[in-house]
């Protein structure tokens, strides 16, 4: 072994969901929105300009638009390159204590990877048999708390009262609520940031805003936490969001009518699909996201996953304890879900 090889940071690489180039495939594996972003987003493509100049390092146009939209102050908003970037910055900035941070055993698969990357100790807390987080389980000494609400890949929403219980029990550490899927029927913890100075609420443009291709995420919290994040961000890479992303992201925030209509369409399709799943004998926790986490007692998840793939339908399968007989299925268009239902019917 060469000497320098010893000092390479080894990580368990995360495997992103497949991004097939074949457009005929029905892609229900990465929780993308099946609808394009607001026409106003596309309309501003021709205004992309001044590319020889750095973007505004403070990303003010987008920060201000988000602050207005959410009724908070711009000093309460931090924007990054997708919510993964925002979350990783939060881990790096706030999880520097001696105690392990805690998160659910079944959850977003990046949390343990970031913890390992930054050498942060962590401990997972088991969901109950219905995939529910129990607030009382989070009343343990820890160095920080992070969880998605609704949770992924389960789709299960925790009520705001329970979220509040977790924050109340953890006032000495930072609590991060990752609300990537909140727009599909959940109640946000955002109003609590005034009350709890240790709460961070994270959002993304990749799901409900149909802008996975732009890479925009953000979080909201009290001014002091946002300042700490900006200090780390400026020390890391001052100019993160590109000019096109800032311009088009702002246009998205400003078209609330389109945004709400799109969310409604996804929710309606989810309800149709859940009814069909029941009819076909699938079980699944109630979803408040743009995906459903399903299992069938006659055919294994892996078999369905493989056969679907052969038929040009890509689903998500996690070969992990407790969930290796489940599939995470993104809500596509009505047409896509009908094709999937036909396929499922044919193999059961």
């Amino acid at each position: 072994m060469r000497e320098w090889e010893k000092n390479i940071r080894r990580v368990v690489p995360y495997t992103p969901g497949e991004q097939p180039k074949n457009k005929n495939v029905i892609k229900l594996n990465t929780n993308e929105n099946p609808y394009p972003p607001s026409p106003k987003v596309l309309a501003c493509r021709e205004r992309i300009d001044d590319l020889n100049l750095y973007p505004d390092p403070a990303i003010s146009d987008l920060v201000n638009a988000l602050a207005t939209y959410h009724g908070v102050d711009p000093s309460n908003v931090f924007v990054g390159v997708g919510s993964d970037d925002v979350l990783a910055m939060c881990f790096l900035t706030f999880f520097n204590g001696d105690l392990p941070i805690v998160f659910p055993d079944i959850t977003y698969s990046f949390y343990d990877v970031w913890a390992e990357l930054y050498r942060i100790q962590y401990r997972t807390i088991a969901l109950d048999d219905d995939f529910k987080m129990l607030p009382e389980d989070y009343q343990v000494p820890n160095g920080g708390v992070v969880f998605p609400n609704p949770n992924a890949p389960t789709g299960v929403l925790m009520g705001l009262d329970d979220v509040r219980k977790i924050i109340e029990a953890n006032r000495d550490v930072i609590v991060i609520v990752d609300e990537a899927y909140i727009d599909f029927g959940g109640e946000s913890a955002l109003p609590l940031i005034d009350e709890y100075d240790n709460l961070i609420v994270v959002r993304t443009f990749s799901k409900s805003r149909s802008l996975a291709g732009l890479r925009i995420g953000y979080c909201m919290a009290n001014e002091e936490l946002i300042k700490a994040l900006n200090d780390v961000k400026y020390s890391f890479n001052s100019y993160t969001l590109s000019r096109p992303a800032i311009l088009m992201g702002k246009a998205s925030v400003e078209d609330d009518t389109y945004f709400k209509e799109t969310c409604k369409k996804v929710i309606a399709t989810r309800e149709y699909f859940e009814n069909e799943l029941k009819r076909l004998g699938f079980t699944f926790p109630e979803s408040k996201t743009n995906f459903v986490f399903v299992s069938h007692n006659k055919v294994s998840a892996k078999v369905i996953f493989d056969k679907a793939k052969e038929n040009g339908i890509i689903l998500r399968y996690f070969e992990k304890p407790r969930i290796d007989n489940y599939l995470r299925i993104t809500i596509g268009t009505d047409e896509e879900m009908k094709k999937l239902v036909d396929f499922l019917e044919s193999i059961l």
Copy 2:
């Protein structure tokens, strides 16, 4: 102090160069290219599409275009969100030894910040009185070497023979040559990556490619180092570069004629400006970049900086040891540099 405040990572925030919104200002403070990118870059704005879908996590279109352009294999190329992102990933991935990493005392101001952010020990090595790096100074035990070539903010180029000497003396650690400004007249270390498996050559689209607004950087090295970087990147944020950046970045790489013409224009303006500077009594090391690092023995750098600002010309001033009587002046258009020369003449 609240309990959670104790665990916030404290960094010395980097102050990015001002990005004034006033378009009448002559902006010579952040080494942007005064010319727009290739018309082919702007022409593909209307092809920005599929924004609801994640970008290709492997960034293959751009990686392949860069590999073809540089005559290397795609497995030798890693792309990130600006060269700052690439460099920070390199620090995190490769600088994990017990010995301090080394870099020049006068150099790019992010190196010490990343080292502090990731708690990497470092030691600086003084440039000589002519702002030159002496290869023999780098024959010391260390945990890694990083330097820009040409150096910033001095603009001084080191010959390839000397670069080779530094790599030869440091075969047990990773050596990063940050070639942000190499296209303005330097000889690249790129051909050496075949010979030295511990060498990483970093580039950016922000200077010579007139694309600071898109946030694209990359590095080239042997396959094993690129794989280690990709492992860390995938564990951090799988989808970094946005769809617009991948599309427009590729268009830039494919228009070499425009690229070379733009570099030539910047070099010609630099030569004109250097002659004028000499005439006005400025001293400066020979620049092989798109900026000049100047000093005058009659008027202090700080005074020139302040007066220029009052006159709508923004230069860069670093209040740091050894260089606090120097100004870094970006090469703008001929017209901008003529206005600056007129201004300088008026105050001397």
